[in-house]
């Protein structure tokens, strides 16, 4: 296929592109490290800014009745009798070694709690991202520039779904499809049937956002010269949409996927509670209500790490997909 002439890169320019990409990746990684360091610093500040004794916060909160022995050992572990800067370094050191502390509300080391709960949340989040993309693409493909009515329905659908709060959507889906019709199990359950409703609940609002963005790009892509020329060559409407316009249209959506992942993880807090699924979201909520700081911070940092990695990946993907950066046709 031929890309738009001004966007093609000659073979001679290829090494330059590769070098630029490598530099960009390094920049991204560097930036990512800084962001993670900043996130860790923020959580350190969180413990020291909240009311009460940091030792008690590390030990799991006032109500877990930390004994004097426990408080003493916590103080030693985190260097709480030393100057703040030393405490900070000790804290960072602990994090780097994967020492996330002990969760008093779960009665397990935080790293253990996270290990037990990562898989279900990952399953849910990734499944929902895929589903959101599918939904967004299907609606966009079917309805963009296909006449007033269809387009309006499509874009209307996207706007409404983007505004649906997940807790409400989830309850309604649960009632209609699980309680009433019985098509899906009422409890989260393991296995695919138990994943459908929670994924839908998470995916629909995200699909709304992705759809809106993709639609705008799709519309403008369909007006581009290369599309007109493809049509002039006799390519059918669907060929045009799928082979030419799609790549352009998904670009901003790909960028958004990093954000979408973050939004999905937030949504997982609600959806896991609604569907009685175990996972990081559920665990985080328990940590927050019990004011169990080591657990709360542990989960938040893990999410930050995932988010940063995802954003870097997304940027890589963007470069791969962006036709302007391709080396040849």
């Amino acid at each position: 296929m031929t890309a738009a002439p001004d966007a093609a890169l000659t073979a001679a320019q290829a090494p330059g592109v590769a070098r630029r990409r490598a530099r960009r990746l390094a920049g991204d990684l560097g930036g990512g490290v800084i962001v993670l360091w900043g996130a860790a610093t923020l959580t350190f500040l969180a413990i020291h800014l909240m009311p009460g004794d940091p030792a008690v916060a590390y030990a799991g909160g006032v109500a877990s009745h930390p004994s004097h022995a426990l408080l003493a050992s916590v103080a030693r572990e985190y260097g709480l009798d030393r100057p703040v800067i030393v405490q900070y370094l000790v804290y960072l050191g602990n994090l780097l070694r994967g020492q996330l502390g002990y969760s008093a509300s779960q009665q397990l080391p935080v790293s253990e709690v996270i290990r037990l709960n990562v898989a279900p949340t990952a399953e849910l989040t990734l499944g929902s991202l895929v589903l959101a993309w599918l939904l967004a693409l299907v609606i966009s493909l079917l309805t963009v520039r296909r006449g007033r009515v269809l387009s309006s329905i499509g874009s209307g659908l996207e706007i409404v779904t983007a505004s649906l709060p997940q807790y409400w959507l989830g309850i309604i889906l649960l009632e209609v499809f699980a309680f009433h019709l019985g098509w899906f199990p009422a409890t989260g359950g393991s296995g695919l049937p138990g994943l459908v409703l929670p994924s839908l609940t998470l995916a629909i609002p995200i699909a709304g956002f992705l759809g809106q963005v993709t639609r705008e790009e799709f519309e403008s892509a369909l007006e581009q010269p290369f599309v007109t020329s493809a049509r002039a060559r006799g390519m059918g409407e669907w060929g045009v949409r799928l082979r030419h316009a799609l790549r352009h249209a998904v670009l901003p959506g790909v960028t958004l996927s990093g954000w979408a992942l973050g939004a999905l993880i937030s949504g997982a807090v609600i959806v896991e509670t609604l569907y009685s699924r175990n996972g990081l979201g559920n665990v985080l909520l328990q940590g927050v209500t019990q004011q169990d700081m080591p657990l709360t911070i542990g989960v938040v940092l893990v999410v930050a790490v995932v988010y940063v990695m995802a954003t870097i990946l997304v940027d890589l993907l963007y470069q791969l997909v962006d036709p302007r950066l391709r080396t040849s046709g």
Binding site: I34, V35, G38, I171, P252, S266, V300
Partner: protein, 296 residues
């Protein structure tokens, strides 16, 4: 491209692609009936906040156990709840709760954002770099998680809720304001003012601020819609107002168990939240488009 440029604000793609030519005109034509509807919703909500008695005849806190769980009827538009309270009244009075939380949270978010955004935009390269990095760091936390972290630190409750949601929305606003300040800073008329020798404070107050802050109204509108949804989410999770406050999110949480037998408890408060969020978003974007039309 840094992370900060990649995160979208409120549905606009990164890179700020304005609508092009024909598509844009088509948009406006399609959207108009929606706008009227959105304005209608907003007006109703404002009446609910200011004069709830006009809309709701029954007291929202009047417990009548004998009349619990009645389905919607002429006497009770949205039915009654487990304590026999009129759901419609609770939704109307709840508007005050939910909207005030939303407005307060947005105000806090915008306040923080203005400080950060202006400092980054006007403070020179060093300040910009530091603040931009800081915002990137905040962006690494999904907004709800930022809010939850705050609640973990300071405990649950309405005050905590307001600050938490405000903090969650601040990074997004800050980035936009920073962008706006930078754009205005480089605008020809500011350059002209500088060349003409106007004192810096006059340039700031007369040219930069008014133009940079113009989209604030848009941000505020979009922000209030979003804050209401987040605040309701936190209330739903049990981190908000204590009963018997008629806060929409708390009402949804309380009615969850009874969805099979009393669907109206979940349906109506939720529908109202959706309508509010939709209206705010539609209005906000409409204003945004009008604004883009005016600014060169």
């Amino acid at each position: 491209m840094t992370l900060i440029d990649r995160a979208p604000e409120l549905g606009r793609p990164a890179g700020e692609q304005p609508l092009r030519g024909r598509a844009r005109a088509g948009w406006l034509r399609r959207v108009r009936p929606g706008i009227t509807l959105a304005w209608a919703v907003v007006v109703l909500l404002l009446i609910a906040v200011a004069f709830p008695g006009l809309l709701a005849r029954q007291p929202p806190l009047a417990v009548r156990p004998a009349q619990s769980l009645l389905p919607p009827s002429l006497a009770h538009f949205f039915g009654t709840d487990q304590s026999g309270r009129d759901v419609f009244s609770r939704v109307v009075y709840g508007a005050r709760e939910s909207l005030s939380i939303g407005v307060a949270a947005t105000a806090i978010g915008l306040g923080i954002a203005i400080v950060l955004g202006v400092a980054a935009g006007l403070g020179g390269r060093w300040a910009d770099a530091v603040i931009s990095r800081f915002l990137e760091i905040l962006f690494a936390f999904p907004s709800l998680l930022l809010a939850l972290l705050f609640v973990a630190m300071f405990g649950a409750g309405v005050g905590s809720l307001i600050v938490a949601v405000g903090l969650g929305s601040a990074p997004g606003f800050a980035r936009m304001i920073r962008g706006q300040v930078i754009a205005v800073k480089r605008a020809p008329y500011v350059e002209a003012a500088r060349v003409l020798g106007h004192p810096p404070w006059r340039i700031l107050a007369g040219s930069i601020f008014p133009n940079a802050m113009r989209p604030l109204f848009v941000l505020g509108t979009l922000g209030v819609g979003q804050s209401i949804v987040w605040a309701s989410a936190l209330s739903f999770l049990g981190l908000g107002a204590a009963p018997p406050a008629p806060e929409w999110g708390a009402m949804l949480a309380a009615g969850r168990d009874l969805i099979s037998t009393a669907w109206w408890l979940e349906f109506f408060p939720g529908a109202v939240i959706v309508a509010t969020a939709l209206a705010a978003t539609a209005l906000g974007r409409h204003l945004q488009r009008r604004l883009e039309g005016r600014v060169a």
